[in-house]
């Protein structure tokens, strides 16, 4: 266990370090003055000078890199070029919108996709199975930004059932939830299909295993056999899939946040890229990477919790 944790944490640190390195070296591979590139063409002389001093631009590159890492470790991700506010504070303001979007988007996909996959596997070739199959293929094929646009046009613009843009009044949970519905629907939809397919396939495999036959031969209730035995094993590959898919989910939030004008991390990155506000881009991408690494770590831990064989080989 100790060995495993050391290994995993080491690997995570390595991943994050590499991402910082890439972000950092981008600045230096693009021809021109790093300060101008970082702050963009519209930055003032004064800002450039301040930036050069702050980033220790007169120091060798590797020292600058170490300084950035050191600062990042203490939570200092630099200053926003325009407002001069700390990048960390800006990200913290926005991250909640993204987390809630991802959480609700993945949440409804999991709550719907896994039972659908289960039911389809328990009754293969039934109408439910067929419908699930068709829907899965359909939803997986459609990119989430198209879903976002269509959802916006149908439910917000045409039917006017739900608000089109924004994240709701600050402090009003109900209003914020209503604003979550459409974007969460959009980013979760293909995951419903994805999860249903995945769970169906692994359930079908597990239902053929000898130990399922044993459970039935001992007269256990079908519900217990399906959810307590088969799903418990079949869920394992799905957890890995969800963990890995989290990266894709974060990139689909960029579209959803732009289309629905939610002030989340994705929108922040998008705006910052457009404005060449490089400290923000650097900071936000770093935080997103950190999130991703955490989620993968969490999903692996969850698997270890479910599967004693994995737990002990750690």
């Amino acid at each position: 266990m100790l060995y495993y944790l050391t290994k995993r944490l080491g690997l995570s640190a390595l991943v994050i370090g590499l991402v910082v390195l890439v972000l950092f070296s981008l600045l230096y591979f693009i021809p021109g003055d790093p300060a101008t590139i970082a702050l963009g063409p519209r930055a003032t002389e004064e800002a450039i000078a301040r930036y050069a001093e702050k980033m220790h631009l007169d120091e060798p590159v590797w020292r600058q890199f170490l300084i950035y890492i050191g600062n990042a470790l203490t939570g200092d991700l630099g200053l926003d070029v325009f407002s001069d506010r700390p990048v960390t504070a800006i990200i913290l303001e926005r991250i909640g919108f993204t987390l809630s979007l991802v959480g609700v988007g993945m949440g409804w996909a999991v709550l719907l996709g896994i039972p659908l996959g289960c039911l389809a596997a328990v009754r293969p070739n039934s109408w439910l199975d067929r419908v699930t199959g068709i829907l899965s293929v359909g939803t997986i094929a459609v990119p989430s930004f198209l879903v976002s646009i269509w959802a916006l046009l149908i439910f917000a613009v045409h039917l006017r059932w739900l608000p089109a843009i924004g994240a709701g009044e600050p402090g009003q949970v109900g209003d914020q939830l209503i604003h979550l519905i459409l974007p969460a629907f959009a980013i979760g939809l293909s995951w419903v299909g994805y999860l249903a397919r995945m769970v169906r396939a692994s359930m079908l495999e597990v239902m053929g295993e000898n130990y399922i036959r044993s459970a039935r031969a001992f007269g256990l209730r079908p519900r217990r056999v399906i959810f307590g035995y088969a799903l418990r094993v079949a869920i394992l590959p799905t957890i890995t899939l969800i963990g890995m898919g989290f990266g894709g989910m974060i990139s689909s939030t960029v579209f959803a946040e732009i289309i629905f004008a939610r002030p989340g991390l994705g929108k922040l990155i998008f705006d910052a890229v457009m404005a060449r506000n490089f400290p923000i881009v650097q900071g936000a991408v770093l935080v997103a990477t950190g999130l991703y690494v955490l989620v993968v770590l969490f999903s692996d831990t969850l698997i270890a919790w479910f599967d004693p064989r994995v737990r002990e080989s750690l």
């Binding site: 130990y211 031969a217 001992f218 007269g219 256990l220 418990r232 094993v233 479910f306 599967d307």
Partner: protein, 686 residues
């Protein structure tokens, strides 16, 4: 029928005229046809038959758990006042686990890996709302104790992978008996286990049956197990019950030609040590084709013209005895049938019958000395973090063994004893750490592949799993001639070679265009032999050459191998855990335990007078296909220790019935006795 009424209360479950079809793409497979037999209360009933005879199908039909593509075509299964074949799913579910419970064939795959035994056993008791969880746990612990799990209070919270194969099967039996069922079904309960474990499980089942007054049905293809364990026996062939009766009647006075042939083919029964084993020619019939007359007629040694047209009568003898054959009743009755037990009714197949003259021992083909193979079990960093000092295990330790041309050496041991590792090392498929492996005098140990490659033509391997080791997309013709391509041998007529080899292993020519999945077990094995022979090797290493084959087919393969040896002077190293088989084919035996050879010598002497206590346990561990020769006690208990904690002294000390203090501190060296046999024991048996 007045008699029927007299024994009716004694019959716990009655299978009557059960017929089951499977729908398959090839058509309907008539897997069970008109199967009837009673299961009498407080008895152990054995269902015996070769692979595909429908044994498992009967069991699953009793539980209403047949595969989805199965159709019950008729019959009934009377259990008390119910007919289980026509019971509702809810009724069946109430019966399963409570009144009828099951022990499964393979404890490795039939227990869910992610739940503890405690959880699994609580689940089985879910129908007892009045019993508290603590009491249920207590019941489970007691049941585990009863089946011989040491320290059950602690072990109940462990997962299946914490248990060894034998322990798992004990736990499987505990789970099945937990609810106190009236009927226990056991499908091949020991097939996945080693000989010494099998003996222990047989005795456990016997003891539990007496103690709990249970009724047990055991399905097995192992005649020895049936003879040792059962009171009543049902013999099945190709989906029919062809004979049934009391165990003594079946084993001493079999009426049906098939039963007779089956008994004669069992190597454990044959006393005369000849290399040729009896065989039943032909294969089990294709059940998807139309069937008429006697199902056994195509293979029967006594077939009459009438047999092919008319279904033979069920001839009853006693309470539950019956046999289905024209010879026993009616116009074709033959009063000289069945002949006395010592008359053989089946032949030994074609080919030369001579046992080759014992080979000269002075010029060994293969000579292994002091060979050791280590495996790294943990990486260096992990060992540091976990505080382990020992990173390697000795899978093979100080092994010396030789094989002469024309000689068959049997390497015997239980699973994990290092047999296969040794074989792979000889073929240079694994690196070894010490010792020598000489082939025709040249040291080939750890030779670079480039130099070793030409030698591969002289040494061939026959793999354990014939179908799995054959590439499914290649025809038999391509498979047989593959060695020529692997070794880049040009200028041979591949078609001619394929035909030559097919003829050598007596595979009909039209099989050359078939694919592996279209072959029976025995035929796939023949392809394996043909591949091994393709390049005229001098030495063949055969890993479990007949594992998974039925006795009637096993003889064919072994006879074939013996003939080829006599013709070509091949040397065989046969790796197996099947003692009755090596007894017939091997000149010498080497017994392995935990990577070491504990005894080595001429086969007949090792069997007649084992020197090492472990050898004796193995020899006595084989159940005899004779109900009058049941063992009263199990010769050794416990199981093989893990390589990770190899004992300091004798590896066998923990299980040895004659161990003394010295055994626990000092590893016994290999000693050669005056008659040339070698052993590793401080206190050899006299």
């Amino acid at each position: 029928m007045p008699q029927d009424a007299a024994h009716a209360p004694e019959t716990l479950l009655d299978v009557r005229n059960l017929s089951v079809d499977f729908r398959t793409p090839r058509g309907r497979v008539k897997a069970l046809r008109d199967v009837s037999f009673p299961i009498r209360r407080n008895r152990i009933v054995g269902i015996v038959g070769e692979s595909g005879s429908g044994k498992s199908t009967v069991l699953w039909a009793l539980l209403g758990l047949l595969a989805k593509n199965a159709d019950v075509m008729g019959g009934e299964v009377r259990f008390g006042d119910r007919d289980l074949l026509h019971a509702s799913e809810a009724q069946l579910r109430a019966t399963r686990g409570e009144e009828i419970s099951v022990v499964f064939q393979d404890p490795m795959t039939s227990q869910i890996p992610v739940l503890t035994y405690g959880r699994q056993m609580l689940d089985i008791l879910y129908r007892r709302p009045n019993v508290s969880a603590t009491e249920k746990r207590h019941m489970a612990v007691e049941m585990l104790r009863k089946v011989g799990i040491p320290d059950p209070d602690r072990r109940i919270d462990q997962y299946p992978h914490h248990f060894s194969g034998g322990m798992r099967q004990r736990a499987g039996i505990a789970m099945a008996l937990l609810t106190g069922p009236q009927l226990l079904l056991a499908d091949e309960p020991t097939t996945a286990l080693d000989v010494t474990m099998e003996a222990q499980i047989i005795h456990l089942l016997q003891d539990l049956q007496k103690e709990l007054d249970a009724t047990i049905v055991v399905v097995s293809h192992n005649l020895g197990l049936i003879a040792e364990l059962c009171d009543d026996v049902v013999v099945m062939y190709a989906g029919e019950v062809i004979e049934a009766g009391d165990v003594r009647e079946i084993f001493h006075n079999a009426q049906h030609p098939y039963t007779r042939a089956l008994l004669e083919c069992d190597p454990a029964r044959i006393n005369d040590v000849s290399r040729k084993l009896p065989v039943i020619p032909g294969d089990i019939p294709d059940l998807s084709k139309a069937l008429s007359g006697c199902i056994y007629a195509p293979r029967c040694q006594r077939v009459l013209p009438v047999c092919r047209e008319t279904l033979p009568p069920d001839v009853a003898r006693g309470e539950m005895s019956l046999a289905r054959c024209h010879l026993l009743d009616g116009p074709h009755r033959d009063s000289s049938w069945p002949p006395p037990l010592d008359v053989m009714t089946v032949g030994q197949g074609e080919g030369t019958a001579a046992k080759p003259a014992r080979a000269q021992r002075d010029a060994p083909l293969l000579d292994i000395s002091d060979l050791s193979v280590q495996f790294e079990v943990v990486g260096p960093i992990q060992a540091r973090l976990k505080g382990l000092t020992q990173r390697h295990v000795d899978a093979v330790l100080d092994v010396s063994l030789s094989v002469a041309p024309g000689e068959t050496v049997g390497l015997v041991g239980e699973s994990g004893s290092g047999k296969t590792t040794l074989g792979r090392c000889v073929l240079n498929l694994l690196p070894s750490q010490a010792g020598h492996v000489r082939f025709e005098g040249e040291d080939i140990r750890n030779m670079p592949e480039g130099r070793f490659k030409p030698l591969r033509r002289d040494m061939a391997m026959m793999f354990q799993d014939p179908v799995g080791s054959l590439s499914p997309r290649k025809s038999v013709r391509a498979l047989i001639t593959e060695p020529f391509q692997i070794h880049g041998i040009a200028g041979v007529d591949l078609d001619a070679e394929a035909e030559r080899l097919a003829e050598m292993v007596r595979l009909p020519k039209h099989f050359l265009s078939r694919y592996p999945h279209e072959l029976s077990g025995g035929q796939a094995r023949r392809v394996g032999v043909a591949r091994a022979l393709a390049l005229n090797p001098k030495l063949i290493i055969a890993d479990e050459p007949t594992a998974g084959l039925d006795v009637s087919v096993q003889g064919e393969i072994l006879n074939l191998m013996a003939d080829l040896q006599a013709e070509h002077g091949l040397g065989y190293l046969i790796i197996t855990h099947n003692l009755p088989v090596v007894r017939h084919i091997a000149d010498r035996l080497a017994i392995m335990y935990l990577g070491r050879i504990v005894e080595e010598g001429p086969t007949d002497e090792v069997f007649a007078r084992p020197v090492h206590p472990y050898t004796r346990a193995l020899v006595e561990g084989v159940p005899q296909p004779d109900p009058d020769r049941r063992r009263v006690h199990v010769s050794i208990s416990g199981e093989v220790p893990s390589l990770l904690n190899r004992p300091k002294g004798c590896d066998f000390a923990g299980r040895c019935p004659v161990a003394q203090d010295r055994c626990r501190t000092e590893k016994p060296p290999h000693l050669t006795m005056t008659d040339g046999r070698r052993h590793a024991c401080h206190f050899p048996l006299g």
